[in-house]
Symmetry: D2
Subunit: 341 residues, 4 copies
C-alpha cells in the first residue's frame, strides 16, 4: 500500500520534502498540495502529478489524502495540526509544533482526546546515524551514567532576518529535542550567556550565545550557538559519563595533504549534514503510517516541551543571563511510552 | 514511468538487490524473478508481487520486463547478458561480467553490434561518496598528476571455500575497477607477492597477498589483500601525486574514551561499508534506464578489462611473483566515452 | 657559567625538579637543599653532591646559591619568596605563589620595591608546545578575535584528601593561568556549576564541576573539571574566534586496530602529559637567570591574579553557583611587560 | 663524571651534535674538535671551550678525549672508527658506518678482535618515542605475528646533488635499520620499482621509488621513498600482523578550522620530526659510555647490515627492478645480544 500524502506549504522546505517523498521514500506518494500562494501550489503539484487544493482544510478533508505534512509558515502550524487530528489523520509537522506553548498544549489535549497518537514533529536529529549510535552507547552503559553534555551548533552565516531569540527558537531547539531524547531526561532550567558579539554579523544580533541547561536528573549541558562562525556548518556533541565519554563523529571526508597542511573539508550547510537523517525520518514515518503503528519520532508532547524550554532560554537571554526555571506541565501518561524512538 | 526489472538469480545478493529496487529505488519495480531453484524464485517473487518464470530466457523475453538484473552464478552471467543484448534490453550484471576474458569479449562484440550501450557491471565503488570525492580532488589537480596509489582491502575472515586465486578474482577486482576509473588510466602489468601466510586461515590459502600494478601512464599501485585480518572490514586507499596526496576517509564512527583508550568501532562487513554506494548505483542505473540515457556505470569493456587484469594477477600468483603483462585488446572507440561516471 | 640552585623543599615535586636541574638542564647545578625533614634534605642533597642546610634562610643566604627554587608546603611559600627577594636572588616558586591574596600582594610589593623582577611562578602550561602553538595561531589572527574558550581538565582519580575547593585551587588554577596568557586578557568573574556528582568518588566531593569565566574583553570560558573521570588524564582546550577555531592536540600516540576497534591510548597522569613543558620551563628559567634577563615565565602578579580568581571560583562554589566578581587590584605598570612569555 | 667527547667533522651535522652534547646532554662535554677545514675547527671549538686538533688521529689519541664522535665526510668514517677501536675508545659514528660493505666488515672484525663493543651507529629512529611504542606493541603480541609493513618516507624537496642511488643509501637506510630492529628479523632481498618520475625534480633523478623488502621470516615491506613530494616531511609506518595493525602517529599538531577546512600543519624537515629522538640517542649513548655499559644503540653489525641491504637496493634500481638477494655474512655470536635497544 502506498501512503498518499497531502502537503500544506510548498515553500523551500515543503518542496524538499515533496522531492523526498517522491524520489526517496518508495512507499509514499504526494497526492495533494496547498499553499498560501495558489500559483506556487499549482506548479509544485503539477511536477509530481498531485492536485492543488485551495486550503489546508480542503486538503485535510480530501479522500485522496491518507496523511498530512505541515510545512507552512510557523504561526499556521497549530491550526493545520488540529485540523488533521480532527479528521483522525496522521500528521507530520515541521518544527515548531506551534509558536506558543498554549497552542502546543491545545494540540496535546486534542490528541489525547482523540485517544491515539497522530502527530510527529520534524526534529530530524533523532534519525541521524551518529546521534543514534551515541544513544546506543549511552544506553548500553559504556560510559556510565551521563553527567555533562558539551555541544556546539555553528552556521557559517545567517540572513539579516535572524533575530537573537531565534538562537534558541530556531537553532538550539534541535539540540534541546535531541538532548531530551539522548538522555531520556527532562530539562528543568535554562540560562543564556552572551560573550562579546562577533563583529561579523548584522548589528542587532547577539551572536555567539552560550546556553546552559540543567536536567531533572542533574545533568548539565553547555551549548555554544554561533550562527556567523564563518568557517562552516559544524555540529559537535560530547556526552561525559561516570566512566568515560562518547563524541559525535565529524562527517566522513577525504584527507588531503598539500602545501604544508593536512586538511579535510568542513560542510557548509545543514542539508548536507542531515540529508540521510531526513531520509530516514520520512521512511520511518511513512512505514509507521502504512502499518498503523504509533510513530516512533518526536511526539506532540516533545513539540510542547521544546517550545517551553526555548521560551525559558529566550527569557534568560532577555534578562541578562538569569537562570530561568522551565515552566512545564507534568507529562501525561499518554506520552509515557512510544514518544521516543 | 516505473522501470520494470526482471531478476535472474534469487540468492543472497539477488534478494538484497530486489529489496533495494523495491524499498529504496522509487522509480523501479521488480516484476519477474527466475532462479535455478524454482521454489526459491516463487517465494522471492511472491514477496514483492512479481511473477516467477522458469528460465532466464523467459524472463528476458517477457513483455513485463523493461530491464534485466543478473545476479545468478558467475558461469551463467555471459549467457544471460548476451540474451538481454539480443532482446535489446538494458542489463545490469553483478561482477564478474563473465568468468573468462573470451566470454567478456563476446559480450563486448555483441553490444557493439547492437550499436548502443546496454550493459552495466556491478562494481559499486565508483558510487561510494569517498571514492567520488577522491576522484574529484584528483581531477581538480589539487594533488598534481598521480604517481602512486597505496591500497588495502581487508576482511575479518573468509569461509573455507575461498581459494588463493579469489584474492584477485573476487576481492582485488573491486580495487582494479575503481583504480582504472579513479586514475582514468589502464593497468598494463601485475605482480603478486606472498608474505608468510597468517596462521589464522584454512591451510590451502595464501593470505595475505601484496599485488603490484603498473599503469600505461607509469603509476604504480600496491594493494594489500588480507582476507583473514581478524579485526574488521577495512578499505584503505591513498593516491600520491606530484603536489600532495588524498586519502579515502574511514567511515564516520562515534569516538569513545573509556578505560585508558580512545576508540572508534571498525566495521565488520562490506554491506555496512558500501550500503550507500549500492543504493546510489541502482538509483543512477534506473534513472539512466528510465530516460534512455547511456548508463554512467562500469561498461562491458570495464568488465572485460577487470577480467583480463585479474587473470594476469592470478598467473603471477601461480608463478611465484613473476611480473605478468596484461594481455588486453585495444579499447574500441565505441567505449571511448560514457564508460566512466 | 653554571647557575647554582638552592632548593627549599625536598618532597616529591622538589626531587623531580632536582632531577631535572641535574640531568636535563645543562646550565644548572643544585648546590644546596633544605627541608623540614633534615634527614630527607641530607639524603636528597647527597645524591647530587649538594649540601643540606638547616633552614630556608640559611639556603637563601648561602654564597653557594645563585637562585632559589621553592617547592615546600604551600603555606610556607610566601616567607621563602620574600626572603629571596630580600637577598636580591631570582626565585622560582611552585604554585601557589602564596595561599592568600594578601600574601601574594606582599610579594608583589616587595618585588616592586626591589625594582627588578626576581620571581617566577611554576605554571608550566605556558611552556607546553601545544599551548604555545595555539597562542601563536591566535596572535597571528588566523581565527580572528577570540570569543569563547572551551576547556576540560580530567584526572582519572584523586585521593581522599582532595576537597571540593581544590577543583579551583589545585586543578583549574592551571587553566586560569594559561587562559590569561593565551588570551592576553583578564578574568573578571567566575561562576561554578555542579552537575550531579559522580558516584565514583569520596562522599564529600563535588565532582565534576563546570566553571564559567568572563574576561574584561568579553570572552566567555567554560571549563569542565572532572577529577575522577576514570578513563585517563585528559586536557582539552578549544578557542573559538570570529573566523574559526584552534584546538589543542591530543598527545601523539600509536594507532592500533584489533578486535573491531581502532584505538589510541590515553595518558594516565600529568607527568607524562607535561614532562616536556617542565623541561622547557626550567631550561628557559635557568637561561634567564644565567644572562640576568627578566624571566619570561609567569610573574608574581600572575601568581596573585591566579589566587584572586580561584578565590572567586571557590566563593561561587560555596554559594550555589552565584556569579562572583573577581576582586583584583589594578595591574601595576611594573608588570605591564615581560610578564608573559 | 662528565664524559669528554672529541668530535671529528665540524660541518652542519657535527655542529648540531656539538650543540646537543653541550646544551642538552648534561653528562657530556665537548673537549676537542677536528675538521678538514682547520679554521672551522678552531671556530667551532672556541664556541664551546674545546681545543681544535689537526687530525682525527690526534683527537682519538688525546688524553682529554674519553669518547669519539665521527661526523666527517662518509668516505672517511671507516678510518676514524678503526682508529678509535685501536685506541679502545667508544665511538659514535653518524651513518653510514662506512661507504662499502668491505670497510664495514673490517670494523666489525676489529671490534671483535678488541673483544668488547665500542661502536654505535647514528640511526636515530630507534630512539623515537613513536617507533619505540610501536616495537612494544609488536613485542607484546597485541597485533599478532607481523606479516607486512607499509612505509613512506617523504621530503618536500632535495638539492641538485641528490642522486637516484641516494634514495636507498641516504633516505631508505633509516627505514632499513629501524625495520630490522622493529621486527627483530633480517632483510634477505630487495627490489626497487620506479613509477613515472615527478616533474618537480632535477632531471637526472628517479623520484619517487617504491622499495620492496622481504625478511628471513617472510615479512614483506613496501616503502615509498619520495624526496620531492612538495607538501612536507612525512614519515609513515604501519605494521600489519595476524591479529591487527599498529601505526606510527603523526606528530601532535594543533587543529584549526577556518574557511571551510579543518587543518593541521605538516612538518617541513627531519630536524623537527626527530629532534627528541636525537636528544634521547645521545643521552643514552653518553649514559652507556659513562657507566662502561654496552651501548644499546645500533651496532657495527647493524651498520654493516644497512650497507649490504642498501647495496642490494641500489643494484635492483640499476637493473630495472630485478629482485636482488642480500649478500650478508652470517651474524657473529658477538653481536647476538645487546645490539638492539
Amino acid at each position: 500500500m502506498t501512503v498518499r500524502v497531502g502537503v500544506i506549504g510548498a515553500g523551500m522546505i515543503g518542496q524538499d520534502h515533496i522531492r523526498r517523498l517522491t524520489d526517496v521514500v518508495t512507499a509514499a506518494r504526494v497526492t495533494a498540495v496547498t499553499d498560501i500562494d495558489a500559483a506556487r501550489a499549482e506548479e509544485v503539484a503539477a511536477r509530481v502529478g498531485a492536485v492543488a487544493l485551495p486550503t489546508g482544510a480542503d486538503l485535510v478533508g480530501s479522500p485522496e489524502v491518507d496523511a498530512v505534512l505541515v510545512t507552512s509558515w510557523g504561526p499556521t502550524h497549530a491550526e493545520h495540526v488540529l485540523s488533521a487530528i480532527g479528521a483522525g489523520k496522521p500528521v507530520f509537522c515541521e518544527k515548531p509544533l506551534a509558536t506558543t506553548a498554549d497552542d502546543c498544549l491545545r494540540i496535546v489535549e486534542a490528541e489525547r482526546a482523540h485517544g491515539r497518537r497522530l502527530v510527529q514533529v520534524g526534529f530530524m536529529r533523532r534519525f541521524d546515524a551518529g546521534y543514534r549510535r551515541m544513544k546506543e552507547v549511552i544506553a548500553a552503559g559504556t560510559i556510565g551514567a551521563p553527567l555533562i553534555v558539551h555541544c556546539a551548533h555553528r552556521n557559517p552565516t545567517v540572513p539579516d532576518a535572524y533575530r537573537s531569540a531565534m538562537a534558541a527558537q530556531d537553532t538550539a531547539v534541535h539540540e534541546i529535542d535531541v538532548l531530551r531524547w539522548l538522555l531520556d531526561d527532562e530539562i528543568v532550567s535554562a540560562q543564556v550567556l552572551t560573550p562579546r558579539a562577533t563583529s561579523k554579523r548584522f548589528e542587532h544580533l547577539k551572536d555567539p550565545q552560550i546556553m546552559l541547561f540543567e536536567t531533572a536528573g542533574g545533568v548539565r549541558v553547555d551549548l555554544e550557538v554561533f550562527v556567523n562562525c564563518q568557517y562552516g556548518y559544524d555540529i559537535q556533541c560530547e556526552t561525559v559519563g561516570e566512566d568515560g565519554l562518547v563524541r559525535l563523529p565529524d562527517p566522513a571526508a577525504v584527507g588531503i595533504r598539500t602545501a604544508g597542511l593536512h586538511s579535510t573539508p568542513v560542510l557548509q550547510d545543514w542539508k548536507g549534514r542531515f540529508a540521510d537523517a531526513f531520509d530516514t525520518e520520512f521512511r520511518e514515518w511513512i512505514a509507521a503510517v502504512e502499518t498503523g503503528a504509533t510513530p516512533t519520532g518526536p511526539s506532540a508532547w516533545d513539540g510542547y516541551a521544546a517550545t517551553v524550554i526555548t521560551d525559558a532560554a529566550v527569557r534568560s537571554l532577555e534578562s541578562d543571563g538569569t537562570v530561568v526555571t522551565v515552566d512545564m506541565k507534568p507529562r501525561p501518561a499518554f506520552y509515557a511510552t512510544g514518544g521516543t524512538a
